[in-house]
Symmetry: none
Subunit: 321 residues, 2 copies
DNA sequence: TAAATAGGTCACAAGGTCAA
DNA sequence: TTGACCTTGTGACCTATTTA
């Protein structure tokens, strides 16, 4: 039975999720026509609410990936469908980050074996999150977000684990910094304001710590990276064929899709910035260096920290060895 | 890894090239259905561009050779697939002739030892070609074109070298004359207009020189040889079992394939010219005499010329001893 | 008799169409 | 706007044929 409409039987996989033919067409139409309005009763609709039906599609992990038309400046339907899809996926991730908890402590490899979206459960109102919980929910919602894309699902299990393991943390840092920009902060912090660095860190300068908190956020503020740019850029960055130990076929898949995603970003830049498009494109790509630098600083800090006091209760998704 | 899709692993040789099963079926379907449109972005498409995928098949050297149905006038699928394939191979040769250079100076025997297509590199824009360069690129693109066919690949190395050595130049002359016809010229010349005969030739009459320039082109103009006829005719001419020193098995292979190719040409003539088909067929075959005459005139001219002034820098593919 | 390759078949997913 | 139905391209898998 189709998990979206609960009425018709599943016809097979469509846009990455098991659903019926009607819901497949519904999803496609919404992406291309974008004729959707907010739900009047804030979710929990019973029937016939197009907004809630679409949200169910997103929750079920439906993703649209264009394969052509990304060079045709007169046909931007595919690009705008992609962006529309991505922005709803990202809203869903943000909702989960702020309103959900995740039970258990799986490894990335275990998560890779799960078909379909991860299962979160509601966070009690006024639940007080500590630093470790913020770190975990940020990571696991990032994994859930990234796991949906077609290029991830096309990989074999081993390649998928490699890809997710070596990208989800970078993606988390990137979302943290976009949140900082949205809140007009020049440093990253968790949604409730919790500092991303634990208080008792020793052996490094304040300057170093502030680099972690601020470097990426500052650059993103400087460039005024838009939501759309962030969404496309994340696809380009984290569909990375250059990761070590990938199989040849996995590398081939990621290569092909990275080209698609960067074409989409380039088309977006050309449309939005006209003759300044190409330089904007390269400016955006350069952000990756700062993400990588920040990740390395954090991992240095982590190593230093565990030397002082052996780490207890570190969630398994953060075990990279 | 399949060099065409870069995603799946090679399943073996299919239609003369190493590729995966999916690309094999793709190639076959395109030949038989011809459901292909030009690429919007002129190459370098990522995935899902059927035109670019097919062009990659052609570049990889994929060739279809019918083995039956060439006598069944109600089933022309094989013939039209063959012609479709040949015309794309020929476009590729023409593209290389006009836009590429070849590095090195191999002998024909060395070229015969190379598996798969030869490697060309892009010719700089506005690069000025001299006569010797035109002669070389014409010869080497002809060799690349001829080398792909199944009857060539089935031969042992020695037979293959004999066949190519004694046919590629005739094929070049033939393509030169087809180009003359396309440009409404009554004489052959290289694509940029360079004369095929070097200026300082002495000891022969202008009449003799003009025979080389014009005789074949004139006959082709007179017969109004079509592209399709040229493509099939070239296969018949240059799958020649009568060459000296071939092994018995090589001779047998060439004999069988020449029959296939001439059946294809005959079927084409019968379909296109109805009751005039047989006479058209013999008219076309008679063109070979003129190719041979032109080749002999050129070689006489060459010998005469090297007697006056020893030849320096002659490319090794043109050393026929 | 085992391999390699040409060619056939079918279920699947993307996307289009049209009556309700 | 919807969803049943249709068309198309695809690729995994199968079979037939040939040759070492």
């Amino acid at each position: 039975m189709c998990s979206i409409c609960n009425v018709r039987v599943i016809s097979g996989y469509s846009y990455g999720a098991l659903c019926c033919g009607a819901c497949k067409m519904f999803f496609r139409r919404v992406l291309f026509v974008k004729n959707i309005e907010n739900c009047r009763r804030n979710g929990n609709c019973t029937r016939k609410c197009r907004y809630c039906r679409f949200k169910k599609c997103i929750k079920a992990g439906m993703t649209y990936t264009p394969t052509e038309n990304l060079f045709d400046m007169n046909n931007t339907d595919s690009l705008s469908a992609l962006i529309f899809n991505l922005s709803h996926q990202e809203s869903h991730r943000d909702f989960q980050l702020n309103n959900c908890l995740f039970a258990g402590d799986p490894t990335v490899a275990e998560l890779c074996r799960i078909q379909g979206p991860l299962t979160f459960y509601p966070r009690p109102i006024n639940y007080q999150m500590n630093l470790a919980e913020w770190v975990f929910i940020t990571g696991i919602t990032s994994l859930d977000y990234l796991k949906k894309f077609i290029h991830v699902n096309m990989l074999n299990e081993s390649d998928r684990a490699i890809l997710l393991k070596f990208t989800f943390f970078d993606f988390s840092i990137f979302t943290d910094s976009m949140r900082a920009q949205n809140r007009n902060q020049e440093y990253i912090s968790f949604p409730d304001g919790t500092d991303v660095i634990k208080a008792e860190v020793v052996g490094v300068t304040d300057n170093f710590i502030n680099g972690i908190r601020c470097r990426l956020a500052a650059r993103i503020n400087e460039l005024k990276v838009t939501k759309e740019e962030f969404l496309l850029l994340a696809l380009v960055f984290f569909c990375n064929p250059a990761l070590p130990n990938l199989s040849d076929s996995g590398r081939g898949i990621l290569n092909s899709y990275q080209k698609i995603y960067s074409s989409a970003l380039l088309q977006y830049c050309l449309l939005t910035y006209q003759q300044l498009g190409p330089s904007r494109f390269t400016d955006l790509l350069s952000v990756y260096q700062i993400i990588a630098k920040t990740r390395m600083d954090i991992s240095y800090l982590f190593i230093l920290n565990t030397m002082h006091r052996p780490c207890t209760g570190l969630k398994k998704i953060y075990v990279f060895r």
